[in-house]
Symmetry: D2
Subunit: 477 residues, 4 copies
């Protein structure tokens, strides 16, 4: 048991069942490259301040890179009794370097070491999610031209409400995912704070230089170039806000995906018939020969539950824990990894699905004039002729009722009957009746007016093009 | 793509990315033995009603058992494009038997097949959890004799309240876990209903005998011997109540474990000093040489969050899904498996920890008379002498205040001073003062009175002994 | 401050802001009648064992009934500084009776008093919910005759799957709500355990008779007539399982309601057109004159979120609390009350909605043969002629594909074309084609076969009639 | 029923039970002033673009202000059949102004109207929470001087770890609450986007000026002065991200409060004895005369559950809802209001509690040298003398073990015994032994080194003073 790095005070070795129960290497091994990056920077700083010699530092760096390569290539052997990825790597280092390896853990604790690796990991995870959100936005913007001019019913309460351009729908999703990107960007600022050097909970009596480590690891404000350090050591090792905020952001992305999935499940049903999903994104039934099911969309909707559950786990986990570090916090990683993997997979599969699904304009158009989608623009026509809104609303309501009873559209009502209810009208009323007309008369900022939608499409195109000019993140997690 | 069992109506093969996204075999493979058991019973019934010949049935049975053995021994090859464990097994069967294999899926759908396998699995999972809860109860009851006579402070609001026997604490946990066992037993009744034969959602036009399958698979009422069948095919394929109820029961077990873990973390702290955890259940710090941390208890407490998160996932998953089956439901398995694995692991590690931890009676006794644990029994002494409870409460409160100011215990107050406040007393008051006395005077049913606790210990011993006489479940999941 | 019943040991009065923050009377006042019932039984027992005189007991009983009437009629004055409903009532008692009132709190604590009142309340709440679930079942069974013979598409993955009788849908909901009722009945057993007499946490040294109180308050096993007491005083004051289990049961009811609400929102949309909601259950739009929105159904679906949130609150609340009572538990009541009120309101509004909505058989029938709902029964026809299921599935799949391309139904395919794909058929195949035929050929237990559905309807009618013969609960909460 | 503003198309009046079930005025009435502010701005814009005359606008403004005053003073009569606060106000307006009142709802819908009111409300709610967080920070910073020089044990795993200054603890909480404030500030940017003018879901055909409304209502970027408008009408009426983000931020605040509450519950227990809570923040027991319970802290901890539950409600509510508005969203308000009220109340009560609690330096000091808090600084002393960290860790661990067995502190070990284990030491080792010394030798940035803590105190003082110079928000919600 002497190899346990903390065994000095113990007289009894851990029970193997305990080792199995407490190990985390089965899931935290995916932090290996972040851990090594953190250790290299730490070693370089130690050398800078004289706690390691230059040669010791170089030996450590080289050995760590070898270990990294060994893990990457799958040759590294993991053992539950070595607890976590951090101990595995340090042990491998000591196996190689002896006393030099035993010096690496100077002026740090696993508490700040884990927090550092996790922050590096989340920083990259944010980049990746952001990149995929951009791809989704591009996919939606890309549809806008393909679906130019297609008018679909807009819904409230799942009842036909007013007609809108299909492109208006696509841009709505761009807006939602843009807010997600903004939130991730805000989150990144709070993630990008260096905890290393907080040691166990109180800091250290050794003459370390935390600002130096921050620079090496990119914990700097991208605008000012200033190092970003957590300023209180108790906070540095206890803070998990950054994980909760990240997973909350993922949960909202997931919610937006669930809305889109629900909508497309509806739109591609036999009853709606608006949308044809590519067969490659559907599967069949083991018993019903005719079935083509929208499984991908259903799973995306279902996986929202998983991400919400992950967030709940984190919220429950940290409730009522006193300062500073408690082992409960080891359980913070599985939900974070799961939420990230889930949302990443959903975003990846969503992109080609958005691109390849096909609207069925004929089927849509055929029933577009059902549901009295023009009632509101008709009412607004009356308002423009001086009828108070409530009065106009009531008059149109009565006319809709009448048309329903006759089983016809508003435009099919006799002019005289309309005029009797609404004396203010003239023949120009037919300019606003019909779903297509109801779209064309729109004009407000943000509305589905064709010119307004076109303007928004151009805004999105410019914005996304500008971003594309920047480098794509290396997607390594 | 012709091998896809549902490919007839399709012209396009699934995208490999889609296959990856929609596969479930990575987690549902653990249902292989339940699936095979279900298939064997199904085949036997098909033979009974003439939809298979006796020979076909025998071939299928034999092949399924070979496949089961292949999976058990790790020789079976899993491929994401075969979707789930059910398709893997059926495909392997068809590879072996050709047309005979192609007949197995007669009069069933994956919808009822999956539900059946899952119900068989949960039935066994319940047995396992129940078995381990019993072990925990035995561990606590086992402590009662070892800790006989030890009095500890009882707490409310984490303030010393009244003295209780340590055994009284142990039996409190037995009660909580007994309710968990009762809930699991109730849950089992609802789990133990056969869905098979509901087919996709509407039943079948083939002349199957569902009662026969129910008998073969043990879906019978243990008391009446009557077959238990789900009676509505739409319900049979859509119902997931049994999973939610099972995971809720696990969540409550987890809550009870968290209370115990919290308490023992406190009791084993330097400040409380009541309990010594076995070193084999503690780990040290990478930086602080003196630390021995109660990691196992902290992880048990932390893992509660995970089980609660799993329950939340399931609750969110099924909300608002229309009938009957939706693919979202594929996501029901990971949280169920995770909750089960988590709770099982916690229960397993808890047993030896409960057995091996040691109370420190000397340390407990040393400070037992702090906190005025005898104030209530003193008050009750006054009540027995006719003082109204509220008056007695006030008098004792004033005396406690006085003793606090003097830094002494109630028993150390001069008799005259007590008598001045409470004229009803005589020297007999000292019979109820002091923590030990306060325990001895107890008498109500369910109280910490030594005789009462002893009686309860005997009740538990008999109950557990009676159960032990029954067979232990085979723990195979 | 002398009136504070616990003020003896204090020298400083509570801050008014603290009184405001800690009061619970604003929500626990609804427990007044349960509290009084508990106090009356407690007083009667105290008299029986000699801790009160018969006359004192009678005075207390009478005064408590007066106070109850005062509260019921709205004349009682509530004051935050009196904390909770229990202190209000005791204070009012003491104001009336002086020292006699001061004796009521003998041998009990608020800890066991609150738990008792809450258990009495939940017991009644369960009866009420159960009663309303039965009304829902009656409403669905009542529809079965009205909708006799109506065939609707059954769905999986929100795609038309197989045809089923409308009544089959209605009975599916009866099954789900029956499980809810079974769960509530199981829960009731665990609710119906007397905590009173556990006092603060340790029991009492006074010679009380808890079994007597149990009998008076109905904490008895309805079958054996045996008193049901919590047997460990630490458990009695800390246990909140019964609240969590009750709210979990409410959450599952809510989930079932959400499935039904989702389905009827879909069915009543313009696209589905299966169902007409009564106008009295819809509301309009402030701007769109033609809208009639299914608000009641949407709110029922939405309120599921609330009940799930309430359950989460309780799960989080108790996690990691050490024994025995902690003030956190005061927060257990608002979510329980909210979940109950929410589910009760949803159930109440659902009954008339279920009764009054109208299927539109003509609209349903018009498109019933879309979606190849007969494909599975066709496949089963082939199986009965000896074609292996997988082969039959493939053949029918190809034929569906062909029919889709031609835009026709299976029955409209030329016999020769069908026969070319499936040589086993003869003209009898047309007996199984078409949605109506596909229902008629069904035969398995629990299927949508007309005779089977009729049988189930009769089962439900008998069961509900038998229950109705029993008394209706007094709905007083 | 003619008064129902949307009644035109209906022939049947809503059922009173339905009105009761669907009403929201019982909780959304607290939005009255936000609604009126929005309506005034809307009317002014309508006048500007010619949809109202100047006189009509003035009449509307004046009448709305009268109505506002009527509501504020409690004279306004609310009726469930008028649904929500928005209809109440419009109806009161029409009662006063007739046709002029009927014009106000021109070019808007309740969908965008509600979203606007809610955004105005959340904007103010953020200001209030931020203000109270600042007060908490001031309270903690204020303690730093009072508690200057007090050293307390720092904990990990609830085991004594290293000594830290009490002020270091206080500043840790300042850091956590500062992140909360940063998150609220980020959230505010996304809240502060105008939805009005999106109308029902598609925009309007009337010539409105949304930028004008944005300016009037303060939907402007505080830095650039640019109007902030939601740019897609479907998004504007469906987006609830801003509520979820706000409640998530509240949940994290609540988590931080729960950590602090847990810690102070522990610190004020008899076992820890670090902290005396003011009696005015404690309450007693109804049965145990000696009890003084930390109820306020327990309730703060417990109320965390409530806020987490509120967040879960919102997450479940919006999952899987298709675009654009669905009535489910009416249920978004109760959890937002509840989370806000809960967190606000906790913050308000926390401030005086933080200020008035008293550390007990004597009691702390008495046991400060228990737990080997100096082990780590001793190890670092060895590292500075060239011993590899792992070796030093092991040596100190062995020495701690030895000291434990002897029941003494490290400093009480004979120098020779220490030297035998650690040959590198000299008498200077005693400079780092003892808890006080272990604090004094600290030096890293963010550590508990006295100079470092002093520096941080000054940073906080300047920051908070600078903020205080700004105006305090008017706290009106």
């Amino acid at each position: 048991m002497s190899w346990k790095p903390w065994a000095g005070v113990f007289t009894e070795a851990p029970d193997p069942q305990v080792e199995q129960f407490t190990e985390s290497v089965s899931f935290d091994r995916r932090l290996y490259s972040q851990d090594i990056r953190g250790s290299v920077a730490h070693a370089q700083m130690l050398a800078k301040v004289g706690l390691l010699t230059a040669e010791e530092c170089q030996q450590i760096e080289q050995a760590l890179h070898e270990i990294e390569e060994e893990i990457r290539s799958g040759r590294f052997v993991f053992r539950p009794e070595l607890e976590d990825i951090h101990m595995h790597i340090e042990r491998a280092l000591t196996d190689r370097l002896g006393d030099v390896g035993r010096k690496l853990h100077t002026a740090r604790s696993r508490n700040d070491q884990v927090a550092t690796a996790m922050r590096l990991w989340v920083r990259e995870a944010i980049e990746q999610i952001d990149y995929r959100l951009r791809q989704i936005q591009e996919a939606f913007v890309g549809r806008c031209e393909r679906d130019a001019g297609v008018i679909v019913p807009g819904y409230t309460h799942l009842r036909r409400a007013q007609p809108v351009l299909a492109a208006h729908y696509w841009l709505c999703y761009c807006e939602k995912f843009q807010r997600d990107r903004d939130r991730l960007s805000d989150c990144r600022r709070r993630v990008n704070m260096l905890p290393l050097g907080a040691a166990a909970l109180a800091g250290t009596s050794l003459p370390i230089d935390r600002h130096d480590v921050a620079r090496r690891l990119g914990f700097v404000d991208p605008e000012t170039g200033q190092e970003q350090l957590l300023s209180n050591s108790l906070d540095a090792v206890s803070d998990r806000d950054f994980l909760l905020e990240f997973v909350f952001d993922l949960a909202l992305i997931s919610e937006h995906l669930s809305t889109w999935a629900e909508e497309w499940i509806l739109w591609s049903s036999q009853e709606f018939g608006f949308l044809k999903l590519p067969e490659a994104f559907c599967t069949g039934s083991s018993i019903m020969p005719q079935k083509r099911n929208p499984d991908v969309l259903e799973l995306i909707r279902g996986k929202t539950a998983r991400v919400i559950g992950d967030l709940q786990t984190l919220l429950v986990l940290i409730k009522g824990l006193p300062l500073a570090y408690n082992r409960d916090l080891q359980e913070d990683k599985p939900p974070v990894f799961d939420a990230f993997d889930t949302v990443r997979a959903c975003l990846e599969i969503a992109v080609p699905l958005i691109q390849q699904a096909e609207l069925d304009p004929a089927a849509i158009a055929e029933r577009l004039d059902q549901g009295y989608l023009d009632a509101t623009s008709f009412m607004e026509y009356l308002i423009q002729r001086g009828v108070p809104q409530r009065t106009a609303h009531h008059q149109v309501g009565r006319l809709v009722r009448r048309a329903m009873e006759l089983g016809i559209s508003l435009a099919q009502l006799p002019f005289e009957e309309i005029q009797q209810m609404c004396p203010e009208i003239d023949q120009g009323v037919f300019q606003v009746l019909g779903a297509r007309q109801a779209v064309l008369v729109m004009q407000s900022y943000g509305s589905t007016a064709p010119a307004e939608v076109e303007r928004q499409i151009q805004v999105w195109k410019s914005r996304l093009a500008a971003e594309k000019a920047q480098c794509q993140p290396t997607l390594i997690l």
